[in-house]
């Protein structure tokens, strides 16, 4: 262990045994002590029985990514005991349930092993199989509280908040905490050399996952129609939207809803519903993951060409095909950028954390309506389903949603004739009308060849005129999408460029590399098409390390296609094993590449 407030705790349990609430309690208690935390779930595609882990990084310095070490392992799952033990960093600690004997073969001399009879204590103190299993989880939180010096008062308060007036539940949970706490205090030297030490670094912050933040963002964006087909890891986004809407979108007088959530029969239908609703003027969205994008592709191309707004959240998971549904990756970048047959390309937004999921959700709806095109928000499982500490979300009361170029009845009356696909303003964005407003606004929406006036055509020149105008719109999009985050010093000739959830690991890596006198500039792209400043950034550097989480360097390819990236200067650092990227990987990879350069 490095120091106080720099500790990684990993808890290995069995899926479906209720450990999530115990782990959440532990993570929250540390946060309430004012110490920044990161919580990551490593879970199987399973309901009950397979191994699952929760990793808490106590990070006084406020890092965002995972760390590739384990200081304290709580090995509650016999099935994974040996590999959990193997994972502990030398000098670290391992807790296990000593109710049952453990083979001496399962031992390591370079770590400290602490046996606590958790099951035995819980069986003696609680009735019922379910209660005993649940309380065993709470008891290891008590043990960790003793070892890491976590404030019992804080834990008790959290339990009171959770259970409200259910006194018996508060009492039994507190009892379980004490069982673990007292036993540990009595039998081991507490606290450990590195512990949790109260700070005041979490004021003005929350801990939230990206899917919840995105669902909240959709509510604030005024989304009224959500259509979806359940798919891991995007499902909790719609769950969150539903839960916020249940609270804030029900007319108090009539009990009727100002939102509609449709569980579609598949992703083809989900995107069809989004297009139908958007065509009719509602703000509509669908959350999905890779396989869903594949199914939606035909419609995405349709929406591009017929110019219908749509907001699609792709919470990426590990591919290809079914891949590993509960592991993270950034492997849909190209599939989304060019989704569908024919000449199509799409606006992509890349949030880096849950805060950006909230704000990006709003931007996505504004851009989709402004540009009359699908906008895809590319999150991933790491952002979407893990617990991130972010600054409090803010809502500007003066914010005005951008509904784009929509002609109302009055505007229609003032023009001679309405033409759906005419570029009146020269920005490549035509005006649109909504059904139900005025007969003068009627037009026929079609994916087949159409002229700039909106009529059917098979005429080469008239067709080409429309697809060329879409490129004008593409350049307008380039200027409208959020620009990159850049840290630049003219003294650095090399840089790191990353996207989305690579941000936290890269920022931490930059600090570590700087400490070794390796100065690198930094660019985090936030949207596709790439802003002019991304092109400039690439041109300013001899070497740009492109850090991304897929095998085939998809972001690098996109930089070459859309930002004039010189392939000789773009060096890929690829992390694609399904686990969230960490700073250590980036540091090692950069050093390796640099030493290659020297050798050459």
């Amino acid at each position: 262990m490095a120091a106080n407030n720099d500790i990684v705790i990993k808890i290995g349990t069995v899926n479906g045994t209720g450990s999530a609430s115990a782990n959440g309690l532990l993570r929250k208690a540390i946060f309430r002590m004012g110490v920044p935390v990161v919580g990551k779930n490593y879970f199987p595609s399973n309901i009950q029985g397979l191994p699952t882990w929760y990793e808490i990084r106590v990070t006084g310095e406020g890092h965002q990514s995972r760390s590739n070490r384990v200081d304290v392992m709580v090995a509650m799952n016999a099935q994974t005991y040996s590999r959990d033990m193997a994972e502990v960093t030398p000098g670290g600690w391992l807790l296990y349930d000593s109710t049952w004997p453990r083979s001496e073969l399962l031992n390591r001399d370079d770590i400290n092993v602490l046996g606590i009879p958790l099951s035995k204590m819980c069986n003696e103190h609680f009735d019922g199989v379910r209660a005993r299993i649940l309380m065993k989880n709470i008891a290891y939180v008590g043990a960790l509280a003793a070892l890491l010096d976590i404030d019992l008062e804080v834990i008790t308060r959290l339990l009171e908040e959770t259970f409200g007036d259910k006194q018996h539940l508060i009492a039994s949970n507190v009892e379980a905490i004490r069982l673990g706490y007292d036993y540990t205090k009595e039998h081991f030297s507490c606290p450990l050399p590195s512990k949790v030490e109260a700070m005041d670094a979490t004021d003005g912050h929350i801990v939230i996952d990206g899917n919840t933040a995105a669902g909240l963002g959709c509510m604030y964006a005024g989304a009224t129609v959500g259509a979806w087909y359940p798919i891991t890891p995007s499902t909790s986004l719609m769950d969150a939207f539903r839960s916020f809407c249940t609270e804030f979108r029900v007319d108090p007088e009539t009990g009727k809803r100002t939102y509609a959530i449709i569980q579609a029969e598949d992703e083809l239908a989900a995107i069809g519903m989004v297009l139908g609703a958007s065509w009719n003027g509602a703000r509509a969205f669908t959350p999905t993951s890779g396989p869903g994008i594949s199914l939606m592709s035909e419609f995405i191309g349709y929406a591009y060409y017929a110019e219908i707004p749509a907001v699609i959240f792709n919470v990426q998971r590990t591919g290809p095909s079914t891949g590993m549904p509960t592991r993270t990756q950034q492997s849909d970048i190209l599939a989304c950028a060019y989704a569908s047959h024919g000449d199509t390309k799409h606006v992509l937004l890349f949030p880096a954390d849950p805060a950006e999921c909230f704000y990006t959700a709003q931007q996505a709806f504004d851009l989709a309506e402004r540009l009359q095109t699908p906008v895809m928000v590319l999150s991933d499982l790491d952002i979407g389903m893990n617990d991130w500490m972010i600054p409090d979300l803010e809502w500007d009361e003066n914010y005005v949603h951008d509904r784009g170029k929509v002609l109302d009845a009055e505007a229609l009356e003032s023009i001679e004739k309405f033409y759906r696909y005419l570029d009146v303003d020269g920005d490549g964005i035509p005006y649109r009308t909504l059904p139900g407003v005025d007969p003068k606004g009627a037009y026929f929406t079609r994916g087949s060849g159409h002229t700039k006036l909106g009529a059917y055509t098979e005429d080469s020149a008239a067709y080409q005129d429309v697809v060329d105008r879409l490129l004008v719109k593409w350049e307008t999009a380039r200027a409208l999408v959020p620009g990159p985050e850049i840290e630049y010093s003219k003294f650095n000739k090399s840089a790191i460029l990353t996207v989305g959830s690579g941000h936290g690991a890269c920022k931490e890596a930059l600090e570590r590399l700087q400490a070794e006198n390796i100065g690198l500039n930094y660019c985090r792209v936030r949207a596709f098409p790439f802003s002019e400043s991304v092109k400039e950034f690439l041109a300013q550097h001899d070497t740009v390390y492109v850090v991304e989480q897929n095998r085939d360097a998809q972001l690098r390819t996109l930089l070459m296609l859309d930002a004039e990236g010189d392939p000789r200067r773009l060096v890929s650092l690829l992390h694609y094993n399904g686990m969230p990227i960490n700073a250590g990987f980036v540091v090692d990879a950069v050093q390796k590449e640099r030493s290659k350069g020297r050798a050459a």
Binding site: E394, V437, T445
Partner: protein
């Protein structure tokens, strides 16, 4: 599909509806389907139906997928918005559109390929949601645009122009809709406009999912001897079991009906459908009886037409979801969230 606009000159003697519009005002561009195509007769029936219902053109939404049938929304109601979507996906687009704006009247035109093969899943689920729409299947048993392959509605033994007769079981949209819980199920024939227009009118007025399966022969690929979807075959075997008249809200039933023949059904808006039974023992309110009757007659080779089943009691999609009466698309966005104060309160749960 056509880009040729029809001249919009109405003869002074043409009948006008309550909006002062003539049937010409509900026409679209010139059809590019084959001369004699059944679909053009269906288009004419749709024009007649929306004209008679005094539907304001901008309050009608025309939806379709891909295929000959799906081109037809361009051929009627040119003052209405149309959405010619992708193959087999008209139901989902209509579901979304209707979710956003429940005030419009939705007419979807599909075909047997579009609805019974590539789009069968969406067809099924639109029924399940009791989506408020008039869903017309122009059913000819073949794929026209790709030059004459059998569709899923082709009957066993039906002969193609070239090659061997079909041996696979046909999918019958009417039986399917009956088993899935559709609340208005009709079958007509493109060659019988007198029967078809009221069926479409009833479907447009019905407050839920209304299927009108129309046998609509393909003159180019499936109108020969040996085809069971030809004009000649349909005329020979088709059989009206139940016809209907539409009576607008607050109007009286004026037609004289024979004793025991007329059966009025009141619709959600106060209008009525009066069913005229030609088969005294047919009960169009019993799903089980309808199914049994249709299967028996089907086995005898008959094509049963008319309003075959109706249930105007069941709630449509919006009411099942509990949505507000106003179209969701018209709600003011800044009233759809609890503002900065509400956000602070929400954040409290994540501290």
């Amino acid at each position: 599909m056509s880009y040729i606009a029809k001249p919009k000159v109405a003869h002074p003697s043409l009948k006008r509806n309550k909006l002062g519009l003539t049937t010409r005002d509900y026409e679209g561009t010139v059809s590019t389907l084959c001369a004699g195509c059944g679909h053009d007769s269906v288009t004419a029936a749709i024009i007649q139906a929306v004209f008679e219902l005094d539907i304001e053109p901008h309050m009608l939404a025309k939806m379709s997928g891909i295929g000959c049938s799906s081109k037809t929304p361009a051929y009627f109601a040119s003052q209405s918005h149309g959405f010619n979507s992708v193959h087999g996906r008209m139901p989902s687009v209509t579901t979304g559109a209707n979710t956003a704006n429940r005030d419009l009247t939705y007419i979807g035109v599909s075909g047997d390929g579009d609805s019974l093969s590539i789009g069968v899943g969406q067809f099924v689920h639109a029924i399940r949601r009791n989506l408020n729409m008039c869903y017309i299947i122009e059913n000819n048993g073949v794929y026209g645009l790709t030059k004459g392959q059998f569709s899923a509605s082709a009957d066993i033994g039906s002969k193609p122009k070239k090659g061997l007769p079909n041996q696979q079981e046909p999918i019958d949209p009417v039986s399917m809709a009956l088993s899935l819980g559709a609340t208005y199920i009709a079958r007509g024939f493109s060659g019988d406009k007198a029967q078809l227009v009221p069926l479409i009118i009833g479907a447009l007025k019905h407050g839920g999912f209304a299927l009108v399966d129309v046998i609509s022969p393909c003159v180019t690929f499936n109108d020969h001897e040996g085809s069971t979807k030809s004009y000649a075959h349909t005329r020979q075997f088709y059989h009206h079991v139940i016809d209907m008249d539409y009576v607008p809200p607050a109007a009286e039933i004026r037609t004289a009906y024979d004793e025991g023949e007329a059966m009025p059904v009141e619709l959600h808006d106060g209008s009525k459908i009066v069913l005229r039974k030609t088969e005294a023992d047919y009960d169009p309110t019993s799903r089980a009886a309808a199914f049994k009757y249709l299967r028996e007659r089907f086995n005898q080779g008959e094509i049963i037409t008319g309003l075959l089943y109706i249930d105007d009691e069941r709630s449509e999609m919006h009411d099942l979801m509990g949505n507000v009466d106003r179209p969701l698309s018209e709600l003011e966005l800044d009233k759809l969230h609890p503002g900065a104060a509400g956000l602070n309160e929400i954040l409290g749960h994540y501290k």
